[in-house]
């Protein structure tokens, strides 16, 4: 193992260049540790984001050696000895260095009907949802999303059609379609069934391949396609 890591880090916004830093190699070192070392010791002007450092907040995602990854849980030792190339996430506007503008990503969650719509009054009794029921299991499979946008950066459809709602927003919509307590189903299905919605997905599965939480947006989107088709056949959405 070489003693130092050669880290090529993107500097600038949409236009910019790579700058190379030499960072000492350590045990159990993550890519986020490398970026933090650069910012704390070598160049305090480097911009990047993180919060929890333990894979919960979803703010540290970057493109590492050409793949989108959560950097706080990506160990440098797993990436081989070559230089590390660290860029901002793809498919989102670059603000500065490693920070991208997440607004388009989260706007699409809203557009996909990502809000829970209560169907019962506040005073009503608790809804009983059987943990083993099929709908609850569908929702369970998708609710651990941390909103990191790794899937969004990996999706070709987002690159080709900037309006495409993307895997994370559609996965969120699917967890709500599977929520028996939700009262906004018709509107949500109409929102996800448009040109830039679930039917645009080509099932390439890059989202599933890269999701750090091992979620499966491809399967969620397939569920939406079926639900939208069923609604259309019934003369609904």
């Amino acid at each position: 193992m070489k003693a130092a890591i050669e880290a090529r880090i993107w500097r600038g916004g949409a236009e910019g260049r790579f700058e190379t830093f030499s960072v000492p190699r350590r045990d159990s070192q993550t890519v986020l540790d490398v970026v933090t070392f650069v910012q704390r010791r070598l160049d305090p002007t480097l911009s990047y984001r993180y919060a929890c450092r333990v894979g919960m907040c979803g703010s540290c995602a970057m493109t590492v050696n050409g793949r989108p990854r959560w950097t706080c849980r990506t160990h440098v030792s797993r990436l081989g000895e070559g230089p590390l190339t660290i860029e901002p996430l793809a498919n989102l506007p670059r603000i500065k260095d490693l920070a991208v503008d997440m607004v388009p990503f989260f706007d699409k969650w809203a557009k996909a009907g990502g809000r829970f719509v209560p169907s019962a009054d506040a005073g009503a009794d608790f809804a009983a949802v059987e943990p083993a029921s099929p709908a609850r299991r569908e929702a369970d499979a998708g609710i651990e999303c941390i909103g990191c946008a790794v899937c969004y950066a990996a999706c070709d459809l987002v690159s080709w059609n900037p309006d495409y709602l993307g895997p994370a927003a559609l996965n969120r919509a699917w967890t709500l379609v599977s929520d028996v307590r939700d009262g906004g189903q018709a509107e949500r299905l109409a929102a996800v069934a448009g040109d830039a919605g679930c039917h645009a997905c080509h099932s390439q599965q890059s989202c599933r391949e890269h999701c750090p939480k091992s979620l499966n947006p491809t399967a969620s989107i397939a569920g939406l396609k079926r639900a939208a088709l069923r609604a259309a056949l019934k003369g609904g959405a």
Binding site: A14, G66, S203, Q205, S206, E209, R226
Partner: protein, 120 residues
């Protein structure tokens, strides 16, 4: 001031390659269809013209190209069935196996065709 090279590494997984093959086979088949209809048109135009065309297709290079087309057609068919399974059946964790099976079906169809025309 320069832009970074586009990253391709995130695409290097079986389902993405299956998508690429499906797309490319679809495009090539679309280009081939006019030729196919033209050949059928020759049959209507008269036996001599058709015979001329069929003689041309008997040369080894045309045979090889035809085999390629059969493989593309089989690949496109299998790929389409795989997508339908993803979209209409419950999710199967065996996605790589599905891609491998589609590829195997395409190659098998091509070989069968090749041996058949070889034997003819």
């Amino acid at each position: 001031m320069n832009r970074p090279p586009p990253a391709f590494r995130h695409r290097n997984h079986p389902a993405w390659w299956a998508f690429a093959v499906h797309r490319i086979s679809g495009l090539v088949l679309a280009l081939f269809l006019p030729l196919h209809f033209w050949a059928l048109g020759q049959a209507i135009a008269g036996e001599a013209a058709l015979d001329g065309f069929l003689r041309w297709t008997a040369n080894p290079l045309a045979k090889l190209a035809e085999t390629g087309l059969v493989i593309l057609l089989a690949a496109h068919l299998a790929g389409g069935l795989r997508i339908l399974a993803i979209e209409f059946l419950p999710w199967s964790p065996r996605q790589k196996a599905a891609v491998a099976a589609s590829a195997g079906f395409a190659v098998a169809a091509g070989l069968l065709f090749l041996f058949n025309v070889g034997a003819a």
